[in-house]
Amino acid sequence: MGQIKRIHEMLVSGEITCTELTQKYLNEIENSNKELNAYITVTPEVALAQAKAVDEKLARGEEIGMLEGIPMTLKDNISTKGIPTTCASKILTGYKPIYDATVYELLLKEGVVMLGKTNMDEFAMGSSCETSYYGGAKNPHNTDHVAGGSSGGVASAVGANLAVYGLGSDTGGSIRQPAAFCGIVGLKPTYGAVSRYGLIAYASSFDQIGPITHDVEDAAIVFDAIAKYDDRDSTSQGSEPTLPTLYDDIKGKKIGIANQYLKDVREDVKAAVLDAAKVYESMGAEIVYFDLPELDFALPCYYILAMAEASSNLGRYDGIRYGYKAEHYNGTHDMICRTRSEGFGKEVQRRILMGTYVLSAGYYDAYYKKAVNLRGAIVEAFDRAFEKVDVILAPTAPVTAFKNGYLFGEETDQLEQYLSDICTVPVNTAGLPGVSIPCGADSEGLPIGMQLIGKKFDEKTILNLAYQYEQAEHKTIETKWGVKL
C-alpha cells in the first residue's frame, strides 16, 4: 500500500488525528531542516489550521478524501496567496503573491495540509539546488551530497519524510533528477496536463508542475488530482486519470531502449537500468533496442530555447512593483540595473545573458531559429519511436548525487552542470511525460534512478509500468530522517 493510502486509513480509523500528524511533521522539520535545508518557509499556522478543519470534519463523522489532511509541501516557485514565494532568489525578497496557483487551489479543495515552501535552484536554474540564494538542500541519504535540482527541496523533504509528498516543477529534469538522487518517485507530466497558472516561469514552453512522492501509487493519486483543464492557462488540457489502470498487468507491453540514452552514462547506472529491463522482460514485457540520433541535439536545443524564454520571463524583476530593490541608485535606469545585478545570482545572470544573446538581431537565425527547427525534429523522432514502442526506458541521470559544491568547483567545467541534464531534457523538449523511480544504489549507497517516458498524455501507461516494477523490486532505501509512522 502506498504512503498516502496508509496515512489516509490512519486518519479515518482515528489511529492518529490530523493535528497530531501535522505536528509530528512540523516537529521533524524543526529538528532536521537546519541540516537538510529542504524548506525555505515553514507555515505551521496554515498547516495546523488546515489540519484542525480535517479533524473537525472527522469528528462530525464525515467522509474525507484521499488527499484530505495529508501533509505536503510546494516548491517555492508555486504561488501561494499571502505566503512568501521566493523562487530561492534574493530578487523576490518580501514578495507575497496575492493569488494562489491553480495547483494549490485544486489541492486546497482536496483539503490538504501545507507544511511550507521548499528550496530550489534560483528560478529553477540548476541541477543541484546549489544556486539557491538560501543555500542548497542536502541529500537525505548522505548530506555530503546534493539533493539534486532544481526541485531539490521537495526531493530532500519527501526523501527525508519531512512531507508525505510535494509538488515540484520540471523544465529540463527538475522533478525527475532530484527524485532519482533522493531515491524517490518524480513524475513530469505531459506539457499541458497540469496548469502552469501561478508557477513562476523559467522557460514557459518547457515548464510543467508534477508530484514528487514516496511511491508510484502516491504519484498517481496526486497527479489525478492536479491534471485538470484550467481556463486560465491556454496551454492546459488536463489528462486522463491514471489510478484505474495503475495496477494492471503489463504483459505484452513494448519497452524501447534508445542506445543514445546509455552513451554518456556511468557504468553502474547503466547496469542498474539494464537490470530493470530484465525485470520487465521477466514480467512479460518486450524490450526493443533502437536508435534515436536526434537525442544528440536535445541538450543544445533545450538550453538555447530555455534561456531565450528565461531572458524574457525574468525581465519583469525590476524592483518597481515587488521584491528586492537596490538601496542606492541614480535614476530609474540605474535602479533597474542595480536591482537586477544585486538581486539575481550568477547562474541566473548567465542564463539571462545567453538567452538575450541568442535572440539578438544577427544571432537569432544562427541560434534561436535553428533550435526551434531542431525541436520540431526531436518531437517527430519521438513520434516515430512511439509507433514502435509503448514506453521508453532510460536512466534519469548519468550519475548519482554530486558531492556538495562539485558542480561549481574550480576544476569543474561549467558545461558539466548542463551535461548532467542530458537524460532528462529530451522529454521536456518534446513535451512528453516521464516518471523517475529508484532502481538501485551505487557503491556509496546513493540511489540510482531510471525513467519511463511515455506518449503525450499517456501518463497512465508509464505509471502502470513504474508501479509494477516498484512492487516487484522494492528498491526504495529508507533514511534515518523524519516522521516514522
Partner: protein, 470 residues
C-alpha cells in the same frame, strides 16, 4: 528644386471591447490609478495571458472593412523592451504572422493607400510625473490595440488628413473603436521623407510621434516637410531618427537616433496558442459587417441625389448616418431629410463631440413623419422650417404644431370658392392666360393662396383653376 512628400502611417487604434486583451479587467477610460487591474495585467510572476476572442473578431472586422486578407493562422509574439509602464518587460504583439494583410483605403482623388498589415497587441500603462516623482498607472495596460500600418503611399498632407478621417469613419462605423485622438484611443505615427519631384527613389525618412489631432498631424507634416527640404537644399542630409512633435511650438525634436533603435528580440509567445481563423468564421463576420461609410456615401450620392459635401457630413459619424437612414426610410426623396439634418439640426450642434453624440430632441422617426407629411402635401413647404424648429425645441411631434384643418388640407367646395373669387377679381390675368401667357396663372394662384392663408396645395389649386378657366 521641387520636392515631393512621401509618407506612411502607423496608427494605433484602441479597441472598444468591454474587457482587456488577456484578462477580464474593464477597458473603461479613466478611473482611479491602478483600479482596473488584476494579477494578469500587472504581470505578476506566474500569471498567464488568456486571449480575448472579441479582440480577434474586432481586428478581423477592421481588416475586412479595409479590404485586407485575413490570415488563416496567426500567432502572438513577445516584443521585449524594458520600461516601467510595461510590467512584464515585454509587450504581447504580433510579429511575422499578423491577423490582416494587404488591404487598402481609397481616397476621394481615386488613389489607394495600401495597408501593409493590421495586427493586435496590448497597450502599456502610463507614467505620471508629479513634483519630481514618477508614478505608474496600469489601468491602460492590457487594453487591446490594433496597429494599422500603411505603405509609404501618401504624396500630400491633404491625403494624410483624408486618410485619418476615413479611418476614423470606418472604425466608428463598424463599431470597433471610438477613435478619439484627444483621449489617445487613436494615435498616429507618421514616417516622412522627401525626394526630388519625378524621382522614384525613397529618401531617408524620419518618424514623427506624439500628435493628438488631425490638425497637429498636418502641422507636424508641414513642418517636417519644410525642414527636410531646407536641409537638402542647404547641402545637408536627413538623418534617420524618431522625432517628437511639440504642440506648443509647432516644431519637431529628436527622441532617438537610428543607432539607439531597440532590438526587440521578438519570439513566439509560448503562453498563448496559435490563433486559427477558419474561413467560415471570416464569412460569418463579413456578413455581420454594417454598410461601410464609403458604400453609404456612394449610395447617398448616387441613389438619393444628395450633394457629395452633405453626404460626407452624414457619413462622418455612425450616429448621424443611422439617424438619417431611419428618418429617410420610406421617403420618396430621402434628400428631404438630409436637407433638414444638414440645414437645421447641424446648426444646433456646435462641437465635434456634439456631432458625434448627435443628441437631438427630435427622434429620427419624428423627422421621418414630418418629411412624409411634407411629401404628401399635408404639411406645406413654407411651414416646414418653422415647424421643425419648434419640434427641435420641444421634442414634440409634427402633429402638435399643425392643426387638423392644415392636415386635412382644403375641402373641394372651399377650394372651388377661393378659385372662383380669384377668377372674378382678376379678369385681366385670366385673359392673358387664355391668350397663351402661362405665367399669368401664377398671379391667380397667388390670390388663392392668400385667401387660404397658405393652406392650399399649389398643385391642387393649379388643377382647379385650369378646370374653371377651361
Amino acid at each position: 528644386m521641387k520636392y515631393e512628400l512621401v509618407a506612411g502611417f502607423e496608427t494605433h487604434v484602441e479597441l472598444s471591447t468591454k474587457t482587456k486583451i488577456f484578462c477580464s479587467c474593464t477597458t473603461a477610460f479613466g478611473g482611479d490609478p491602478n483600479t482596473h487591474c488584476c494579477p494578469v495585467c500587472i504581470g505578476l510572476p506566474g500569471t498567464l495571458p488568456k486571449q480575448n476572442e472579441k479582440v480577434v473578431e474586432y481586428a478581423i472586422m477592421a481588416g475586412l472593412a479595409t479590404n485586407c486578407e485575413i490570415a488563416e493562422i496567426a500567432k502572438m509574439d513577445r516584443k521585449n523592451y524594458c520600461y516601467p509602464d510595461l510590467p512584464k518587460a515585454y509587450q504581447i504583439s504580433q510579429y511575422d504572422k499578423p491577423l490582416c494583410e494587404h488591404g487598402y483605403i481609397e481616397l476621394s482623388n481615386g488613389r489607394r493607400i495600401r495597408i501593409l498589415r493590421i495586427h493586435i497587441e496590448e497597450d502599456a500603462g502610463k507614467l505620471i510625473h508629479n513634483h519630481g516623482d514618477t508614478y505608474v498607472d496600469y489601468n491602460r495596460g492590457g487594453v487591446p490595440l490594433i496597429e494599422i500600418v500603411t505603405e509609404p503611399d501618401f504624396r500630400s498632407i491633404d491625403e494624410a488628413k483624408e486618410y485619418v478621417e476615413r479611418l476614423q469613419q470606418i472604425m466608428r462605423c463598424i463599431g470597433v473603436s471610438d477613435c478619439r485622438m484627444q483621449e489617445g484611443s487613436m494615435r498616429c505615427d507618421v514616417n516622412i521623407s522627401v525626394r526630388p519631384e519625378g524621382s522614384d527613389k525613397l529618401g531617408t525618412r524620419t518618424e514623427i510621434k506624439n500628435m493628438n489631432s488631425i490638425t497637429n498631424i498636418a502641422k507636424a507634416m508641414e513642418y517636417e516637410y519644410e525642414r527636410q527640404c531646407d536641409l537638402i537644399e542647404s547641402g545637408g542630409a536627413v538623418v534617420q531618427e524618431t522625432l517628437r512633435y511639440d504642440d506648443a511650438t509647432g516644431t519637431t525634436s529628436s527622441m532617438r537616433s537610428k543607432e539607439d533603435a531597440h532590438d526587440y528580440r521578438y519570439f513566439r509567445e509560448p503562453d498563448l496558442v496559435t490563433i486559427a481563423v477558419p474561413r467560415e468564421r471570416v464569412k460569418e463576420i463579413e456578413a455581420r459587417l454594417p454598410e461601410l461609410p464609403e458604400q453609404k456615401l456612394r449610395r447617398y450620392i448616387e441613389e438619393y441625389d444628395i450633394p457629395e459635401k452633405d453626404a460626407a457630413l452624414l457619413t462622418r459619424y455612425r450616429s448621424i448616418s443611422e439617424y438619417f437612414d431611419k428618418a429617410s426610410e420610406g421617403l420618396k426623396a430621402p434628400k428631404t431629410a438630409s436637407n433638414f439634418i444638414i440645414g437645421q439640426i447641424f446648426r444646433r450642434l456646435e462641437t465635434e463631440a456634439d456631432k458625434e453624440a448627435f443628441e437631438v430632441k427630435t427622434s429620427a422617426e419624428q423627422l421621418g413623419e414630418m418629411c412624409r407629411l411634407l411629401e404628401s402635401g399635408k404639411l406645406k413647404n413654407n411651414l416646414a422650417k418653422k415647424t421643425l424648429e419648434q419640434m427641435l425645441d420641444t421634442g414634440k411631434s409634427v402633429t402638435d404644431f399643425i392643426s387638423e384643418s392644415d392636415m386635412a388640407g382644403l375641402d373641394d367646395a372651399t377650394l372651388t370658392e377661393y378659385c372662383q373669387n380669384a377668377i372674378n377679381a382678376m379678369s385681366a390675368a385670366v385673359n392673358d392666360y387664355k391668350s397663351g401667357k402661362e405665367k399669368a396663372l401664377m398671379a391667380i394662384l397667388g390670390n388663392v393662396m392668400k385667401q387660404s392663408r397658405g393652406r392650399a396645395d399649389a398643385a391642387a389649386v393649379t388643377k382647379k383653376l385650369k378646370e374653371l378657366i377651361g
